[in-house]
Subunit: 313 residues, 3 copies
């Protein structure tokens, strides 16, 4: 079985068609079945992945490395400060030409927006963007999408709330973009100062996706999914405003239990205090399962980018 996938790289959520998303979701499902049958260990045998983290992101790095190893592949790895040649003034282009000589695929995390696109154009091996500064983090958005699909059995027809910092939250922006391919309704819950940017509102209107904006945290009660993110103090010019707001946007057990639709609670993690630990034991709490789905989705992306044949189920 070899799924059709027209991309060399994973750079940006905008690159995917609806069909691509369906392929990613179904390949993830397929790989989960293969894992249960102990059939993944030779899929990427003899393939080498370079894990290039020009800035630290332990969660993402370990998730990708786990995915590669579970597929029987191998990993060479490096984190930020270790790039001695960068400190000698080497360009990303030159670094990538070197990596191309070593690895069959590379995962790149970089503080500068757009750098993963530069990396991808420098080399013929597949490049996966694991976050580039204020830019995108497409694999996070894809695992969020898969989490919704896996936990709810569908994406179409759902009403999805986004809570917290919707202005700067990169993971939310990327997920919103992916969800525009589906028949969903969105609820944006945030302080006015942290509202979703106009560009996204425009795009939703253009695609006829229903959405509402509110400051009222309780608006998630009639949603199927609530995607919670942190409100960062450093985003506020007016610290009194932050103090006033910070406790309004804390999701705790009693709030979750009051929801009418048994709302699924998601969070990209790490959390600080915007999501109480008393939610953890509720079946609604999907955020730790999200971490596991992250490995599954990344396994699918590695296979898709490398265009390998998958074993039969």
């Amino acid at each position: 079985m070899k799924p059709e996938f027209p991309h060399k790289d994973i750079i940006d959520p905008d690159q995917f068609s609806k069909k691509d998303l369906e392929t990613i979701l179904s390949t993830t499902e397929y790989l989960i079945t293969l894992q249960k049958q102990n059939k993944t260990q030779n899929i990427l045998k003899n393939y080498l992945m370079a894990s290039l983290f020009f800035e630290s992101s332990t969660r993402t790095r370990l998730s990708f490395e786990t995915a590669m190893l579970r597929l029987g592949g191998q990993v060479i790895s490096t984190v930020g400060f270790q790039f001695s040649s960068i400190s000698k003034g080497e360009t990303l282009y030159d670094t990538m030409k070197m990596i191309e000589a070593y690895a069959d695929i590379a995962v790149i995390r970089h503080p500068v927006e757009g750098s993963s696109r530069i990396a991808a154009s420098a080399v013929s091996i597949p490049i996966i963007n694991a976050g580039d500064g204020a830019g995108h983090h497409p694999t996070q958005a894809l695992l969020d999408l898969y989490t919704i699909y896996k936990e709810k059995g569908t994406i179409d027809g759902l009403k999805i709330a986004f809570i917290g910092d919707l202005k700067f939250g990169r993971t939310i922006h990327s997920l919103v973009k992916l969800l525009t391919h589906y028949d969903v309704e969105m609820v944006f819950i945030s302080p006015i100062d942290l509202a979703i940017p106009e560009a996204y509102r425009k795009e939703l209107k253009k695609k006829n996706i229903e959405f509402e904006e509110t400051e009222d945290i309780k608006a998630f009660w009639d949603c199927d999914v609530a995607y919670v993110t942190r409100i960062q103090e450093e985003r506020f010019v007016d610290k009194d405003e932050y103090e006033r707001l910070k406790n309004s946007y804390v999701i705790n057990k009693s709030l979750v239990l009051a929801s009418k639709k048994n709302t699924l609670i998601m969070h990209p993690l790490p959390r600080v205090n915007e999501l109480s630990t008393d939610v953890d034991d509720l079946p609604n709490a999907a955020y730790f399962r999200q971490a596991r789905y992250g490995v599954d989705v990344r396994m699918a992306l590695l296979c898709l980018c490398l265009k390998v044949e998958l074993p039969d189920i």
Copy 2:
């Protein structure tokens, strides 16, 4: 062959019964035989170990990673400063829930006492404590125990000296605890200010284990084993006292050759100057062999915690 082992985790030397210790020693022996027969390479195939070093300990980390790789397993690894999510305020509980999604077993080194127990209770995968602050370092104690057993052919009946900083020496405390399960005699050799704490003296008396305390370094001459540790300058309030003592506690070749029982010299390493390099070539010098036994014992612990079937000899 599947040894009986009632523990999920390795946290604390107090957790082991005499029977557990016997199982660990015999499983280590068994694995050494399997290694000679080239039969270890598939034992942990498809198992993934997370190597989580919230503080650096290269020796211990490489020992565990070697053990895992020699068993055919795979490793994801991270050291201290790299835990970017920790610096964002993530709790150890949340970090471990993430790791549980990735790995089948985790080895954890952490600066805070008790953290490995917290980690173990957070997750269903086995956790091995590789040292938690002023707390325990049980795998070091187990490899010390195995070294005595392997080199002397027995533990019962031995007279064992401990030399150096017996007050703060974590490895000595843990080893003393394990040895209380055996019929041994102990000799504690240290400056008075660095004597073994009262709690240990009490426990030894309660268990009817004979011991003596002395400042005289020569007391190891009629011991079967001498376990040497460093006297750290920073432990002394009175620096003159340190200057007076530091040279009294240096084990060198002539001292070792004067021993009446061909005393086995052990040291947890790294050493500084409390153990002269002229001892290295004596057959008594067991400390470099200890490093190799460390890998063997950790292989056994990985197998025991993961409850895997071992191949026949």
Copy 3:
């Protein structure tokens, strides 16, 4: 097939006879053929390499780790600052005795000249010097030699230019030493202040190798190979002199196209501005291919030091 190789370690370019160099070149060729036939993946199965980088060198570390993994071997890895035991005062000798307990072969990068030789004499496992301070970096010289051989089909009869900092350039010194085993002609192009040291001129004369020295960059036009290195500002006492010279030693496309012998352009990388990116697309530009040859040559060195049998072609 088991090539004859009389060395345990790779420490210094001076250790090799002409026959050794021929063995290294032919074993590299052989491994490239095996790779094309997918026959390298079991050659170092069950072998473990310790990657010990007491200082950062990402390029070299990843090259060695890739080589080991492509041969089916396993890697334990550590970089500089992580050597916690070193910071506690451990000697390199003791560190290596520990590593010997873990690994079958070790690659060592260390800031102090001569340290790889100390490491090699401490242990019975093979040690490969991956650069020791102002000392040697023999694997770089060997991959440079292989690059010339591979790209030109021969080494004998070639005229080879060295451009840039010939006084302090370690890679150039090592390569010059290796080339004295061949029938070549050399052209040293540098500012007078950065001329090749007298010791090398003497050796070349002694071995009757023809060479010329010049400040004129155009002297590479009738050479078969030009090995370009950086001129470092910090080497100049007189900064005006640096300003005057720095632009004279920039290799760009028009300079390369003016060469009469289609000169092959090599560079150890990373480059800064001494080699323009407009050269990259010329077939003459060998420097990115050098990186790939680096993996091949290191695969050969690992096999040769470990004295393993190679599969038939």
